[in-house]
């Protein structure tokens, strides 16, 4: 009760309202984007260019300026969660994460987000010729089957052979190449990426009606395989956390980055308020003693 009284002091009220307003503002895009009835698609961003420093990625909606999306400091091997965005055309731009504050985003490509569809916009190729490639992700599998696809994002190996359960999925995959989806039987497999000298092996459990993208990445002096779950269950956008392999900073998949920021803001508010209350109660306790 006393806390409530203290909380409504003008200065504190301003802080609380400010943070609450920020939280609501951050949450609005989530609320507007998430309903199934809204015309939305899903997009995630990936950085698969080993020698390219971290980038900020911007998506500008042709028709809706409030639908602009910014992802800061996307580093190699990082895959963002899927984010619901209003369907339509977007211009995608990049900016070096360490670039001068006044430097401008550089337009790279466009992506047409169709309602109910999912896409990965991936930075591919070497730094000198990095391009943003739009991959149309799949959400549907034949009943009782799974789908897999492979992206070759290793610069250390010129070509890579990828096998799953001992069977060849793709051979002679060059840097920046990706396969189409292949329908497979579900099961627990050993997946292997092999170049001329380096290899990576991983054990994966591919369940029925899941869709996976395996990304072959550079890890210092070796290779790594990143297992991204594009969808779990037919017609469902994934709700799991994508394995971002090399220490990616991906948030919980299926949630919006802005929603995540809202939670952080709310958490900060609670923490600050709690700390203030704790200090005051400590002082009161000391005075009583």
């Amino acid at each position: 009760m006393s806390f409530i009284r203290r909380a409504v002091r003008p200065a504190r009220l301003a802080v609380v309202l400010g943070l609450a307003a920020s939280t609501v503002a951050l949450a609005v895009p989530v609320a507007s984007a998430a309903p199934a009835k809204a015309k939305v698609g899903w997009i995630r961003l990936a950085h698969f260019s080993p020698d390219t420093p971290a980038v900020d990625v911007y998506l500008y909606s042709f028709g809706n300026p409030s639908a602009k999306i910014v992802l800061h400091h996307v580093t190699y091997g990082t895959v963002s969660p899927y984010e619901a965005v209003p369907s339509g055309e977007y211009t995608v731009a990049m900016r070096g994460a360490g670039a001068k504050p006044k430097s401008k985003p550089v337009l790279s490509t466009t992506v047409h987000i169709a309602t109910g569809q999912t896409y990965t916009v991936a930075g591919m190729g070497p730094f000198s010729g990095i391009r943003l490639q739009v991959l149309h992700d799949s959400l549907v599998t034949p009943k009782g089957k799974a789908k897999i696809r492979v992206i070759q994002a290793s610069l250390q190996e010129h070509t890579v052979k990828f096998t799953a359960g001992g069977k060849t999925v793709a051979e002679h995959l060059k840097f920046g190449d990706y396969t189409s989806y292949k329908v497979v039987k579900p099961g627990a497999w050993q997946v292997k990426a092999a170049g001329s000298t380096l290899t990576a092996v991983d054990n994966v459990d591919v369940k029925a009606e899941t869709i996976h993208t395996f990304v072959v990445l550079d890890n210092p002096s070796t290779l790594a395989i990143d297992n991204l779950v594009d969808a779990a269950g037919s017609h469902e956008v994934p709700t799991g956390n994508p394995n971002t392999g090399l220490g990616g900073t991906a948030a919980v998949a299926g949630s919006s980055m802005t929603g995540w920021l809202a939670v952080v803001a709310a958490g900060l508010l609670v923490t600050v308020a709690g700390a203030a209350r704790f200090r005051r109660s400590r002082r009161t306790a000391l005075r009583v003693r």
Partner: protein, 290 residues
């Protein structure tokens, strides 16, 4: 006497042969041009060269017959970006555009448009002296026609989306150009990010189509007006700064402040020809991937 007759006859025959070798018909040019026709053809060549030098990317390879190439060079088009066509054995594939004058038309006949280059992006002169600037269809004329149609459809759909952007306002004429899919995709793609950077974009007009351009060939240049209540200098500087930071294919060839007849200043943004196709997302990308 007989010897003299033989010598005179032989000299006459040799002269006729030399004249024949250097005649326009033999070199691919129309036969028997009159003095006026020659002057007219030269004028058309010069007009074409001026347009190509200004409007076509200097990084694009331009196929032309040696005479036309020479005129292009005189106008400042880089010699390294030319592919001279001196006989029917040299096809124009590998270039971005071909300048179809009488010589080039004679070399390839109907194959020129049916196979190599079906679409004119500009045309000058008339009759046999007409010169067309044609886009090369690397995958064949049929495929190019389909790609151009698909591109125009995508330009129309995304243009309509752009017209719903509250940060972008247009004159009625500019609105009609966007809505009908006439505007180059590079301009369309640049507009939403530019509006995000400078808060508002007012499109005063798009440049008219080049003379003789085929239907569906995009408009590649626009004039942006300074929004009301905005400092012209800072607005124009901010817009120029953003546009100049771009890279190919989104780096405009013209980013200049121009003063119009009414005294107002506009930012002229233009991209070079030929317009790339397929930059916009396909309108049918809602299909599930396999």
């Amino acid at each position: 006497m007989i010897g003299l007759v033989i010598v005179v006859f032989a000299a006459g025959a040799l002269t006729m042969r030399l004249i024949g070798r250097n005649s326009p018909a033999a070199s691919g040019h129309p036969a028997h041009p009159t003095g006026g026709a020659v002057a007219g053809a030269a004028e058309t060549r010069s007009e074409t060269a001026a347009w190509v030098t200004t409007e076509v990317s200097h990084g694009a390879i331009v196929a032309c017959d040696p005479v036309m190439c020479n005129v292009l060079k005189q106008h400042g088009f880089p010699a390294g970006s030319m592919l001279p066509i001196a006989s029917p054995a040299n096809d124009p594939l590998g270039s971005a555009v071909v300048i179809a004058d009488a010589a080039v038309r004679n070399y390839f006949g109907p194959r020129l448009k049916d196979e190599y280059a079906p679409v004119a992006i500009a045309s000058f002169g008339s009759g046999t002296a007409q010169i067309q600037v044609l886009v090369i269809a690397a995958d064949g004329a049929l495929a190019y026609g389909k790609a151009l149609q698909a591109d125009q459809r995508a330009r129309r759909l995304t243009g309509q989306e752009l017209l719903g952007n509250p940060r972008i306002t247009t004159s009625p004429a500019a609105r009609a150009d966007i809505a009908s899919g006439q505007v180059d995709s590079r301009l369309l793609i640049s507009l939403a990010p530019l509006a995000a950077q400078v808060h508002e974009v007012r499109i005063a007009s798009f440049s008219p189509a080049a003379p003789g351009a085929a239907p569906g060939v995009p408009l590649r240049s626009m004039d942006l007006a300074v929004p009301d209540g905005t400092s012209a200098s800072s607005y124009l500087a901010a817009a120029q700064s953003f546009l100049r930071a771009q890279r190919a294919p989104y780096l405009a060839s013209t980013i200049d402040v121009t003063r119009l007849a009414d005294g107002s200043r506009v930012l002229r943004v233009g991209f070079s020809a030929p317009s790339p196709l397929g930059l916009l997302g396909p309108p049918n990308s809602g299909k599930q991937p396999s």
